[in-house]
Structures are given as structure tokens and as C-alpha cells.
Amino acid sequence: MSEKQARRGAAQQKLLAFASLIVLVVGFSLASPAFFRIDNIMSILQATSVNGVLAVGVTLVIITGGIDLSIGTLMTFCAVMAGVVLTWGGMPLPLGVAAGIATGALCGLISGTLVAKAKIPPFIATLGMMLILKGLSLIVTGTKPIYFNDTEGYTTISQGSLIGSVIPQFPLPNGVLILFIVAAVIAWVLGRTVLGRYTFALGSNEEAVRLSGVNTDRWKMAIYALAGGIVGIGGILISSRLNSAQPALGLGYELEAIAAVVIGGTSLAGGRGTILGTLIGALIMSVLTNGLRVMSVAPEWQTVVTGAIIIVAVYADQLRRRAAV
């Protein structure tokens, strides 16, 4: 019985986690007729896609108790490498996409190695990577954007709509579809697989895991690499949307992604977190940004209100959890 109760409680909790999001959506809908319309909703989802993918990737690292500050500039570097392969190398589309994702995984592996083997605190290791990758993007491109004009179909990766071609009333952009697929796969990995289990275990008590005979270094490196690969997908998405790899972009995106993760209830101390929460966190952020813009709030006030609502949303979440325990 108590088990059942607990499970019902957990389900309720999951529903309630949407509370802040729903309050925001309802609020904005009442405040502006332009907000709750299909094209604007699609805009919001589209705006979530890149940040959402980055946030899903960094969720993995954060659950291990680490952090990844390099995701913003890594995203850009992956886009650049995809551009190099596609535009300069003239390779076919799938190879370019693979190059972008592989670049992400490789850089993630390097960060992971610095953290696991060289025992450099994640903050520093990924801060260093952030700067290195930022510079490399500029160096590789000669500070000029790489355009994907000659790569047929590159923009449809994010901007096309597979679903829309079947159900015209629901033109969900592919970028959003990709976000949902990535999120679903990673949620499955976290919940059902050995990798996922060790992700939580490392964040909960790394030494205990090591003393259980688990090769913690190897797993940690794998997790950072996986996160990097996901960031690579983010790089493909953003460059597909901009039809170009913009080498100067990226700095600051890491903070936004980490914010989404933390708003979604994942603890920076490691050991706990959910992909669903991260998605909600990312959605809260884009609903907020879009809603305030649609309401034509002055930009400086947008910043203030965003800050305040983030605090309030997390506070409400705290209260809810405390009530649940």
C-alpha cells in the first residue's frame, strides 16, 4: 500500500512539475491574444530546440556532479566542423552531420578525460575547453561564417516539418521533433541502462562506486562524450536554422542551458535529476522570453521579470516538494 501511495505521489509530483509552466502559459494567453496561437506556439517550441538539446546533454554531466561550461562554444565548433566537411569538403549531408556529432563526442571525451584522469575540477576543465573551442572556431573559419547554401536539404534538418507534411494543421518543426527524440532516448538511457545508473551513482557517491569495482573513470569519460555528442546535435540544429556556422556565436548559451537544467529540478550537487524536468525548464525559459516579447515589455524590464519569475518558479517547486515529503 505504502508503495502504491508513494508511486501515486510521484506521479502527482510529475504533473505538478508542469505547474509553473502552465501558469506562465495561461498568464501570457490571457495577457496577449497573439501568444496562444499555433504559429507562436511553434515559434516557442522551435526556440526551445537548440537550448533544449544542449540542456539535455549537460543534464547528464550535472547528474554526475560535474558541470560543462564548454557546451556553448562546443556547439559552435561542431557546427563549424560540419560546415568544413560539407561546404569545403563537399561531402554528402549525412557525413557532415556525423562529423558535427563526432566532433562533439570527441571534445566531450577530452573534457571527460581531463576530469576523470587528470582530476581537474570539471568547472576548470570545461572552462578551459570553452575558451579553446571558442578560439578554434574562429581560427578554423578565419572568423567568417560558413554557409550551407550548397548543401541541399541542410536547412530542413531543423526547419522542415516531417509531421507537418502529414498533418498540415500541426507543422511541428523537425528541430523540435529531434529535441523530443533526443530527450526520449536520453531519458531511456538514464532510467533503464547501466550507463544511466552509473551516471546517478557517480553523482551520488563516486568513491563508493569505485570501491564497488566499477571503472568510474571510464564511465565518466563515456558520459562526457555522450553529452558532447548531444551538444553536437545542437550544433547541427543551430547551423541548420541559421543556414550557416557562425563562429562567434555560442558564449553564454551554456549558462542558459544550465539554468534550464536547474530550473527543471536537477541538483548541481549531482545524484538526482530528470530529462523531463530539463525539458520543462527549457520550455519555461522560452515561454518566458517569447511571452514578454509578445507583450512588448521593454527589454530592460524583460530581464528583470525573467529573473524574478525564475526565482519564483523554483521557489514554488521547492514548496511543492517539501509538501510532498
Partner: protein, 501 residues
Amino acid sequence: MTDLVRMQGIQKRFPGVHALKSVDFDLRRAEVHALMGENGAGKSTLMKILSGVYQPDEGQILIDGAAATLPNPAAAQALGIGIIHQELALMPDLSVAQNIWIGREPRLSFGRIDEARQNADTAALFHAMNIRMDPRAPVGGLTIARQQMVEIAKALSHRSRVLIMDEPTAALNDAEIAELFTIIRKLRDEGVGIIYISHKMDEIRQISDRVTVMRDGAYVGTVEAAETPISRIIQMMVGRELAEAAATIPDLAGAQTALEVRDLTRGTELRKISFQLKKGEILGFAGLMGAGRTELARAIFGAEPADSGEIRINDRPVTIRSPADAVQAGIGYLSEDRKHYGLALGMDVRANIAMASLPRYADRMGRIDESRLGRIARDYIDTLSIRTPGDRQEVRLLSGGNQQKVVIAKWLLRDCDILIFDEPTRGIDVGAKAEIYRLLGELAAAGKAIIVISSELPEVLRLSHRIAVMCEGRLTGILPGGASQEDIMELATRRETLAAE
């Protein structure tokens, strides 16, 4: 004369757990009152209520006959109630003295702390306790046993009228326990009321005046210690009689050597240690605190690999540079410090039990067979009688002893050929202890090679087929099973400096 403390009808529920069911308890001035019960019976919870950590759902607390509310630890302290928590609550980055005086630092002007006085006070405290410890040493670097001494010193420094000790001796060995008892008796003679929780039955006889027993969160009864035989108390605790079986030492002459250690050395902590362990054998390791037994186990297990020396398994040399290597080679190690080295406290019982064996229960894609793991976890919960609302309960919410059982289950499931148990029964109740002894016997009979490190001599004697004794990082001798306590103590105190003379 009114009681010092009287708790009446105390109720406490946690989600899924009815931890205390209308419990009564009273404490008189100048008495040592033992609180007994199995793991998870609710002892710690009751004491946390008395010390202001938890609030009771129902019930009343009277201090000196007057109703008291204890909304926080500070309120309890103000009423003269001090507590040594079962789970150490220390700040590892602070020094010993800083830990002891936290919140009560002797101050100079401008909020400055009188560090010199604080250290001197601490030194005086240790002197009175008859132990040697540097007040300036960082607590994080101390062994569990020394940390426990710090907790005790901290509680004593409060000069409380009511002193709660929740398993203060779990990590101590006989010499230190004797010192502690001297201190307790002195305090009692000064009129302090002491609540004493322990799973070591022999201590109850030595120290307590009255005994209260709890079972399943309910009050069972209170008896006079001097007039009640231990077997009766055990019966009150577990609800049945326990048969006390002595170790039978098997003939292992023909058995194969499972593990051989040759000249294992690391720094000054381990010096040229060599021994053999046969299949089916239980080798006990005795020694005083800091003798280096844990260090030896960690070296064999690769947690902190040795500088030199050889480890052979089944007569073949193996290289062990990490715990992963060791587990691969078939060695399991149950650490003495479950909280830091044994458990992922935020994860559930099932995940912790599976921690060392996960790949075995996953398919090629790495997908975990949860339903099978769930069955296995529930099996262990039954066999080891782990008190938990289910296998999905977070381990941090379990009582200390039940946490220990989870760690044991983890290594049982891993099914290693060579098992090293470092203080396996720390914090475990009598019933479960007997269960674990039986289990170790069975494992040995099934051909496992087992090392048991224990600071409780009776336990070493009860379990071991042979007894290895260490002192200051050296193996000073190996005695046959059933050796006398005097022989062990002689080896355990054979210091190199003396031997050289």
C-alpha cells in the same frame, strides 16, 4: 524525586514508515539507561526527538517534570540535553578542536576566536578522557574510530545533564571502550543522566543500570540490568531465543591457497606483510585502532595500491591497480565506513545492492533487467531482514544497521571468491549479527576465502579459523583459531621499538 526526562506516547511517522508507535521512556538522574532494540526499531528516531532534530507527531516530553518543546537542536542544548549522533555529524574540513567547539567558540574582541584557548580546552578534554589526539588535526583525515572519539569529546564538552550516546562504541575497540566507560561512570556519579544505545550486549552488563527495549517502533519494557540475564533482553529484542554457536574450525590442510600476499609494503603504513588464505578459510584480523588493517585491505583491493610486494590468486600473480582490477580478480571488499565508501545514499536499496554486479543484469544494449534485480533485492531484504518499506526506498532513510546490511547484500550478490569484510557487524543488532556469522560460515563452507577485520575480539574469536594480528603496519603473528585473548593482545601491542630492544 521527578524523572530527569519523561517521554510519553511518542508517535512518529515517516512516509511509508511508522517509526514510533506510542513509545514511553524515562530517564533518572545519575543513571545509565540502555536503550536496546533491533536495527530499525526506532532508537535513533526517539533520541532525535529528544534532542530537537525531529518533532514528534504526538506525545509529550517532560524535562524535570515540566512539559518542554524542542523545536530545534539549540533548544535541546539549552535544556542541557547533549547527543552523540549515530551517524557522525562532523565537519571534515575543520580541525578537531574547531569541530568540538562549533557554535560555542571562545571569543576575543571583534568576533575573533581564541584559537589558543580552544586548543588548550580540547587538549584538557582529551587528557581527561585519557586519549591522545592533536586538537589541530583536520577531522577529515582521521579514521572513523578517531572521528567517533571527537564526537564523544564534543558531547562531553557540553557538560550536559542529559547525555545521549547513540552507538558511541561502534567503531571503538576494547581499550577505548574501557576509557569511555570510565568517563561514563564518572559522569553518572556527578548526577548526569545517560542514555546509552549499543548493539554490543556485553557492554550493557558493564555499564547500564536499567534497560529499555524497543521492537518495531513500539515500547517493549524496561528492566533492571543487574537482575536480568542477557538472554532475556535478547529475547525481548528479537522476540525469540538465539542459539549461541561457537566456531567449528574445519580441517583445511588439503585446501587450495586462494590468496597469497608477499611482502606487501606501502610507505610506513604497511610494512612487508605476507600471509596466505585458503579456500574455505576465515582469517580474522585483530589489532588496535590504527594498526593498519584497513590499509592492508585497501591495498589488496587496489583502493590505494601498494608500493611493492606481490599478490597471488590461485597461485598466479595478479596486478591490482584499482578496485575494478580487484573485483575482476574475484576480490570483494566491504568497507568499514559505509557512508563514505559503501553506499550511494541518495539511491534506492535495489540500486545499491546491484552496484557491483550491474553489467551481469544488463543485456548487450546496456539495458538493465529491473524486474530481476527487484526480485533479487527483495530476496536479500528477506534473508538479511533489512527493515525497509521496499526495495525502492532511498538508502539514506534506512537506519544505520540496515544500511550496513545493504552493503553486505551488495557483496553477497557480487559472489566474489575472496571476500574482505572490514568491521562487517558495525552497528548491527544481535539477531542480525548471528545471521551474518551464520552467513559467513556458510560462505566459507562453500569454498569462499574470507578475511574478517574486526575490532571486537569476541567476534574475531567467534568467527576465525586463524587469527592474524597487526601492530603499527606490521603483521606480528598469526594464531590458530580459538587462541586466548591474552595471546592476541600480546601480538597486538608488540611494537617495533620494543622488539628492537
